[in-house]
Every structure is written in C-alpha cells, then in structure tokens.
Amino acid sequence: MSESILSLSGVSANIDQYHILHGVDLEVPAGELTVLLGRNGAGKSTTLRTIMGLTTVTGGSVRFRGDDITGQPTPRIARKGIAFVPENMGIFSLLTVRENMILAAVSGPMDEQRLNWILDLFPPLKKFWNRPAGNLSGGQKQMLAIARAVIEPRELLLVDEPTKGLAPAIINDLADAFEQLKQQRVSILLVEQNFNFSRRLGQSVAVMNDGGVVYSGQMAELADNEELQHDLLGLGLGAHQ
C-alpha cells in the first residue's frame, strides 16, 4: 500500500447533540480509489463531512498530506485541494451549468483543455451549458457535481454515493469517468452502497459500522471473500447492487 494522503485517527464528531462518529481510524492511500462501505447510518457521510470541516469534531485528528486540518474552516480545507461532492450533489439549481463551473474554478478562468476533457466525458453538460442546472436530470446533475469537483486539479476527491437513484446506463458512464480519474492517479475517497460498482472501481476499501471503521484492506481481498462480505455488509450482497 502506498503512502496515505489523508489519515483520520480516533476521530469523534457530533451533529448537534448527537454523537455520530466514535473514534474513526481511516487511511486513504495516495493515488488510489478507496471505497467506504457500510450500512445506512454507519457514519460514512458524516466521515466525509467531518473531513471537510462541516461537523463539530470532539476528538482525534484529521491529517491531510501530513498537515493537521482538524477543525479548520471549510474554505481553508477546500483550498488545500480537497473537493467534496455531497450526497445531494449540492448543485446550484438557479445558476446555469456554466456558472456552476465558473464558481468551481476557484483560482480563476477555467483551463480550456481540462474543460474540453470534462465535456467529452460528460456530453450532456455541453448541451445544457447555458441552461439553469436545476433543469438537469438526476444523472446529469451528478455529472455536473463531479465535473465541478475536477475542473481544477485536486489532490483528493470526496464523493458521497454518486450512483444513488441513477439508471444503470448512467452508472456505467460514471464508472468510466472514475476509471479515467484513477488513471490520472487522483486520490479518491468514495462512499458507496452499490457493491458491484465499488468492486469494479475500488483499490482499497474500508467498512464502517456504528460510527467506526470495522475493516480496512484491499478491495480484491474483500471481493474474493464472501464470508467476510457477509459478516461486514450483511446478507444478500449478490442482490444488493
């Protein structure tokens, strides 16, 4: 396993008065795609939000490329090169697709070449370039959310359940996009419930349960070990696509 770009050690976090994370330990290897699996309510989304500084951290530390970023303001964390695609995608529906992209290109005008690469990856964005993003379909919104995250080169992408509620054909398109990002050696931490999608993309994997990480290792190991899957992820994984 290569060196970690992000490491959480003993992180506890609250949302309002509720204790959601109890000592999360997680390593995200640089240049790899790591999948974070677990049941609903296990704390996966909260872990991503905590990395972005969107929850109240009550213990432990989050380190990004060696720097302690625990409890830092969200904009500062973002400027270090971490992009976050939340579960609801966080599209600005009143802004046009173009304006969403302008906003995402924090350091100035968009890089022409990179933009063309993104538009080739997600052709619908080109088609609806000057339309309000609120008019896009669910899959197109997800494309825009990911496009925003990669319009500038980032060190780390945090993506929360990109396949949720999408048709299989679009899930395939997204998988292709992630494959390309993997080839560019972008570090990605992906929260997923869709095990087939995860198995296809993931290099390393961590499984959460009840606010903590209960397993972490190589995806290949987990994918080959049905008993382990059964223990960690519950029954009927075959049907749980």
Binding site: P73, T74, P75, A78, G90, F92, L94, L103, V106
Partner: protein, 352 residues
C-alpha cells in the same frame, strides 16, 4: 425541442392563453401594466404623466433603500431592522456636504457648480453609511448570525443607538436641505407634443429616475455577469456549498452588508433632497415602504425589489391623487393583494 418536451409544456394558444401565460410568467410586468392602465382611465392624461414620473422617481429612491436589505436578507438570512438608520445616516451625511458646498458657492447657479455639490454629497452619504455598516456588521450582526429573534432584538437596539447618535451629532431638530439651483424647478414638455404638451416635469424627479435606473442596471450587471454575482446568487441558494468550494462566505456577507448599507445611505441622501427636510427618524418611516417592497418583490431578488419599489411608488402617487386619505392604506393593500395571489412574492428566489 423534441415532441416529448412539447407534451410537458404545451405552448399557450389563443389570446386568452397567451394572456394567462404572461400573467404567470411575468407577474411584475403584468401588475405594472395593469396598474398604469387602470390609473390612466381614472384621470386626465397630463396628470397621469406627471404622477407616473413622480411615482417612478419615488420608486427609484425606495429601490435604492430596499435593494441592500433584500440582499442581506436573501443572502445572509439576516433581518436587519436597523436598515432605516442607515437611510437617515445617509440623509444627514449628504445634507451636511450639500449645505457646506452650496454655502461656499453662494448662489452660483451654473450646472457644473451644482453638480459639483450634489455628487460629493451623494458620494459622502455612500461612504459614511458604508463605513458605519462595516462597523455595525462586525459589532452587532456578527454575533447573531443564524438567529432571527436575536437579530430582531439586537438590530432594533442598534437602530435606536444610531438614530440617537445622529441627534447627538446633528442636533434634535429637523434640518432643511437646500436643493441646488439646477435641480429645482421643472422641465416643460414642448407644447407642440400631442396630449402631454405643456406638462411640467420636476427636474429632480427625472434625475432620481435616471440614477435609480443606473444603479439598477449596475446591480443587475454585477449580479448577472460577474463572478462576484455568481457567488452571491450561489450563496442565496446554498451557503454550505459555497464554502465547500473554498470561498469564505463571511467575507462575501460582509461585502454585501457594506454595499447594502451604502446604498441605503445613497437612497437616504436622495430622499433628503427630494423632501428638502430631514429628521433622524425619517428612516423608520421609510422602513415600512422598504419592508413592503422586499416582501412584495420576493426576498433576495434584485429584479423583484426594483419592480416592487416602482409599484409602491406608483400606487402611492396614483391613490394619493385620487383619494389622499387612502395613500398609506394602498401600499400595504398592494402587498396584501400580491401575497394572496403569489405568497412567495413577485419574483421569488427559491429558498427552502
């Protein structure tokens, strides 16, 4: 457009269909045209022209005052009831410069000399209100972000303090504001023109309309065309995602608050020259119109605010002419009517 799209959104057919579509899609224009038409048939055309220009002038000034508040409310979700104090502050700051310059010039009536008095007065009002706005945000608003009840209490308190401070600096009495020579009097429409020939239009009101339109144009440009505008609109919709992209929304808030206060000051200074008399509490009286305008227009919407202000200005003047006792009722009546028709205001900015 594919056949599928056609099924979802059938184009309106026939005159009635097109009328309904216009009413639903452009409620601001619909209401404006309706109000002007109704008034037109209730009075002499020449009176109508004068009242319409005056109404637009009043609308332009109310727009300046209200635009800042609609942004602070829409973007920052801050209810700033001290906004009226900034209107008063601008009025006094502007009047001070104006009195000083006109004394220096002593009766000089050239257009340039007069403009040289008005522009610094407006500029000074803008700067003073903006600077006090900066302090006010840091000291009063910052501790109460996210809590409407506290905002109401603390900004009402802040408003009282600001207005008392105005009385400490400028004294407790009403102050007469001289209007520069060039801007007094009226502009006569040439007799040769049909219907409206010979109508006298007050110069100052025309200036107010032009300035109001210029500010509206500038604000629309900033909001629609610049990166800052993209950020402001994004912030109105989802503050957290703006931060996730690496922008410090607090700085954006502060900038918008300062701009809003400065615009209130500019509106106050213009109102001072319009009314030619100012009191420390003039802002409180204007706040009723301001609040009506931002609710009417749809919270957070600059365009809605502009049309709301014009509608309020027009109904004030029309009703004030037809039945003076009802003028104050008409403003609030307009708001009630619009809210019954469209509870979210004329041009709402979506806020969940």
């Amino acid at each position: 457009m594919s056949a599928h799209d056609e099924l979802i959104e059938p184009r309106p057919r026939g005159a009635l269909g097109r009328f309904r579509a216009f009413r639903e899609e452009r409620p601001h224009l619909f209401l404006l045209v309706l109000m002007m038409l109704v008034a037109f048939f209730m009075m002499d055309p020449r009176t109508w022209v004068v009242l319409t220009i005056s109404g637009l002038a009043m609308g332009a000034m109310v727009f300046l005052m209200a635009s800042g508040m609609t942004l602070t409310f829409g973007l920052m979700n801050v209810l700033n009831l001290a906004h009226g104090a900034f209107i008063s502050l601008g009025a006094f700051a502007g009047a001070t410069v104006l009195v000083h310059w006109l004394n220096v010039q002593a009766g000089e009536a050239s257009v340039w000399a007069n403009l040289a008095a008005v522009l610094p007065a407006l500029g000074f009002a803008l700067v003073v209100a903006g600077l006090i706005g900066l302090l006010f945000e840091r000291l009063v608003i910052k501790p109460v972000y996210g809590d409407h009840l506290k905002q109401i209490l603390v900004t009402v308190g802040g408003s009282i303090i600001l207005m008392e401070l105005i009385q400490v600096v400028w004294g407790p009495n009403e102050i007469p504001v001289p209007r520069p020579e060039t801007l007094t009097g009226a502009f006569l429409v040439p007799e040769s023109l049909p219907v409206i020939g010979g109508v006298a239009l007050e110069k100052y009101r025309l200036v107010a309309v032009i300035l109001g339109l210029a500010v509206y144009g500038l604000m629309t440009w900033v909001i629609e065309r610049t990166r800052t505008g993209v950020l402001i609109r994004a912030g109105v919709e989802d503050r957290e995602m703006v931060e996730v992209h690496g922008y410090r929304i607090r700085l954006l808030f502060l900038g918008v608050f300062v701009a809003g206060s400065a615009l209130a000051g500019l509106g106050g200074a213009m109102w001072a020259m319009y009314r030619e008399i100012i009191t420390a509490h003039m802002g409180d009286e204007l706040m009723i119109s301001v609040i009506v305008v931002i609710i009417l227009g749809g919270l957070g919407s600059i365009k809605g605010c502009f049309y709301g202000a014009v509608l309020v200005g027009l109904i004030n003047l029309y009703v004030g002419y037809l039945e003076p006792r009802l003028a104050a009722v008409a403003t609030v009546g307009l708001m009630v009517g619009v809210l019954m028709w469209r509870p979210q205001g004329l041009i709402p900015v979506i806020k969940v």
